[in-house]
Symmetry: C2
Subunit: 325 residues, 2 copies
């Protein structure tokens, strides 16, 4: 008989997300502190807010979250690394869009977005989560079905081929260790499809991996999710260290502010997690921590042909197989 996930298994997955939050915030504070020391300025640290279910919609009825946000750092202009573990009852229209039948659910995950001040350092996003349908609303209730979802994607403002290759191959290596449950090429293509601004005809960034509704072999999916989550710092921090020591121009900074507008457009118009959170009475400030601090919308801006800015746009319109590049 195949493994049947129970509440203890969900606890184990949720514990992992919480531990990963500690690891990631510590790792990011280290590089922030290193950069601040170099600039003889003060390093920012993550500020923590604990919250519990008192949402206004009545959908979430138990559990809560641990939001950690960093702002106005020397290196990290704004970022959040949030975990939550909540229980509740799906609204009918939402329930029918997902596998299983019981309206009672438990959902837990980690979600992070980092917007560095420095325009040569890319923005990054990752999240790892599970949703389980429970046979009854109580804690410890039987698990009817569950699935994992998540991924990580990179949004550079200036394109460095070696950075794109590093980010993709880090996650490709993780996927290759778990070929029985995931296929890198599939997850990479899913990521390209998901983080796409239809109205602009552009990808949000240079992609990464994305997966959802992974119901088969939950034990193995948790192992994959652990390895993918644990690879996050290695996928990103080496890129940060390489780029943060470079000089940049005011024009590059302006280009970054302008590109951040696209990030906002994606998150507010398309991102399923953001829109679901806003509609279901989630904690707004935790959800919208994903938006950059400073953003600019300039009318009909177009980079000069042949410029590094134009080269980035070219790649955003035509996704690349970075692991083969």
């Amino acid at each position: 008989m195949p493994f049947q996930p129970d509440f203890a298994f969900l606890d184990k997955a949720s514990d992992f997300f919480h531990t990963l939050q500690d690891t990631i915030t510590t790792g990011l504070e280290e590089v922030e502190s290193e950069f601040a020391a170099k600039k003889s300025s003060e390093a920012a640290v993550f500020h923590q807010d604990l919250w519990d279910h008192g949402d206004s919609s009545g959908i979430i009825t138990g559990g809560g979250g641990r939001t950690r946000v960093i702002q106005n750092g020397a290196l990290l202009e704004k970022g959040g690394v949030n975990v939550s573990d909540v229980m509740g009852t799906f609204p009918e229209d939402f329930a029918s869009t997902m596998p299983g039948s019981s309206p009672h659910f438990r959902a837990s995950g980690i979600s992070l977005v980092i917007h560095p001040f420095h325009p040569l350092v890319p923005t990054v996003h990752a999240n790892f989560r599970f949703i389980a349908r429970l046979r009854a609303p109580e804690t410890g209730a039987d698990v009817e079905s569950m699935w994992f979802g998540g991924g990580a994607d990179l949004t550079p403002y200036y394109l460095y081929k070696e950075d794109a290759i590093h980010f993709h191959t880090t996650f490709q290596e993780v996927c290759d260790k778990h070929r029985d449950v995931v296929d890198y090429q599939e997850l990479k293509e899913h990521c390209d499809r998901y983080f796409y601004l239809k109205h602009r005809g552009e990808s949000r960034g240079i992609g990464g991996i994305f997966y959802d509704y992974k119901q088969d072999m939950p034990e193995r999916m948790l192992e994959f999710t652990r390895d993918a989550g644990s690879a996050f710092l290695n996928s990103y921090v080496p890129i940060v260290r390489r780029r943060m020591i470079e000089d940049y121009t005011a024009q590059q900074k302006e280009f970054q502010l302008w590109r951040r507008g696209r990030y906002v457009e994606f998150n507010l118009i398309y991102d399923r997690g953001t829109l679901f959170g806003l509609k279901t009475g989630g904690r707004i400030e935790s959800i919208l921590m994903s938006l950059p601090m400073h953003v600019m919308w300039k009318y009909d801006y177009n980079p000069d042909p042949g410029s590094p800015e134009a080269a980035l746009l070219e790649v955003l319109k035509n996704p690349v197989d970075w692991h083969k590049a």
Copy 2:
């Protein structure tokens, strides 16, 4: 027999929108130039882009628009005053949400958003438009049904009671002249309901008027629309002149940047016109001219109790009957 609108009537309405665009851009350039002279800096002028129907969706098959955008002015940081007059065929899901049955349509209107640099000068939005269903796709085809829509609303960053009263009473006076077709109180309440950010529990600003699907008495509705559109400069420019000569602090400027985030949230998450434009292959840069130049999202920002910033938020959570204030 009641008046039946024909194509010549649609032309007349569209001509009015074009003339109004001239009047409004001229009026705004005057106040921009006056302010620039005072600051001994250069005045910005509206830049014009003409575009025609070549949209990617195949929905719009004829006509075009005249986009006018001003940027980086001494007073007007970013603004657009756009007109368009297009013909096409509604997609099925959209067609069924509106009065009438023919899929062929002509739509024309003026839409404007002005974001001043100065934080004591409010942001303003107005638009006036008609949509007509045509019995056949050709120019000059019979009009099956038509309706007017539009309105104007003010988004101050700092609340001056006299400004709010001035803006509302200007449009109240227009409505009162056309009591057979509109009721100010109804349009004011419609505006409060429409420009509402559910996820924030806040109005976008202090309201104004809003109307839609006005099918009865099209001749009278055009007269009302003319008077409302023609009142725009009077509703707004006196407020601009009063506030632009005041000094402001860096903190007030920061509050403005933060509040602008709400403007972006409304336009990208809720605004029907914006979302319809993005989904149907409208000219993206004309549609998104409504977004401010510089915007800030700061985590969990809350103004000090008793501050002017807190007073504004209080009013945004509890709309006021300004014409009775």
